[in-house]
């Protein structure tokens, strides 16, 4: 790990060198075609899931438990993303997913108990999340400028 201090080089050159190292690492021909089918499959899967859930829930009375199931699912997706992805930006999106899952549960319980304070707490969660994300993004940008990478596995300087 290089720790010498160097002035921030202009961003252009940095990104360029980074891209080249990645393209070198894997054949460019293999990069392009693999991307779109994956996204299509994910979209089709989500659509199928939505249809199944719609069929199961059709004509039922809404209960608090349904919303909490949704919140549970969202939280699981976020936690899974944090565990398997290594890009700092994607990690941030997954953390947001988990925060919003908690928000859904808050609002559902507030509606179930007829108490508006859940909504107020959700607003506080949003404000704190906004501050956290803004600071985090600024940190990611400055790390990216210095290191040329946003991979969290590369950041081991503070590891004992």
């Amino acid at each position: 790990m290089t720790t010498e201090k160097h002035d921030n080089p202009p961003l252009e050159g940095h990104v360029h060198a980074w891209n080249e190292s990645i393209i070198e690492a894997e054949a460019p021909a293999a990069v392009a075609p693999r991307h779109i089918p994956r996204a299509l499959a994910a979209g089709a899967g989500v659509l199928l899931l939505a249809v199944i859930v719609g069929i199961v829930l059709h004509g039922r009375q809404a209960t608090v438990a349904m919303y909490v199931w949704l919140s549970l699912l969202m939280f699981a997706v976020g936690a899974f993303g944090v565990l398997i992805r290594r890009n700092a930006l994607v990690l941030f999106m997954c953390i947001e997913l988990m925060l919003n899952a908690a928000n859904i549960a808050f609002v559902a319980f507030a509606r179930g108990s007829g108490n508006v304070e859940g909504h107020a707490i959700v607003l506080f969660v949003m404000i704190v999340a906004a501050a956290e994300v803004a600071v985090g993004l600024a940190i990611i940008v400055s790390i990216f400028r210095r290191r040329g990478s946003a991979n969290v596995d590369d950041l081991t300087t503070l590891k004992w």
Binding site: D7, N8, L11, V15, N19, I22, I23, E26, V31, A32, R34, H35, Q61, A62, T63, V64, A65, V68, W69, L72, A76, F80, L83, I84, R85, R86, N87, L89, A110, R111, G112, G114, V116, E117, H119, A120, L123, F124, I127, V128, A130, A131, E132, A134, V135, A138, I139, V141, S142, N151
Partner: protein, 97 residues
């Protein structure tokens, strides 16, 4: 730095899922569902939602709660946002050469 706009900037993480991870993930998902299912299937959560007044969740009632019950935390979040803004400016500033 718009992600994915330029084909040459497409970044693919190469961390394939291992069978061990999938097994561990399945086990923890089962534990989570098993722990949550009894609670979520209980009587209080599966009954019909209670009827609430029409103003429930309106901006007026939420604003009332925010500015009466939670006035101090509300002001503190304002301070938090200010601190965050100043911190971001310090972080994002380009250092003079």
């Amino acid at each position: 730095m718009l992600l994915g706009v330029d084909r040459s900037e497409v970044v693919i993480e190469r961390t394939p899922l291992q069978a061990r991870q999938l097994v561990l993930g399945a086990i923890s998902a089962l534990i989570l569902i098993g722990a949550a299912a009894p609670v979520l299937a209980s009587k209080t959560l599966t009954t019909k939602l209670p009827s609430v007044p029409r103003t429930f969740g309106s901006a007026q009632t939420i604003g009332g709660v925010l500015f009466q019950t939670y006035l101090l935390p509300f002001e503190l979040t304002g301070l938090l946002l200010l601190v965050a803004t100043v911190g971001i400016l310090m972080l994002a500033k380009r250092k003079p050469r």
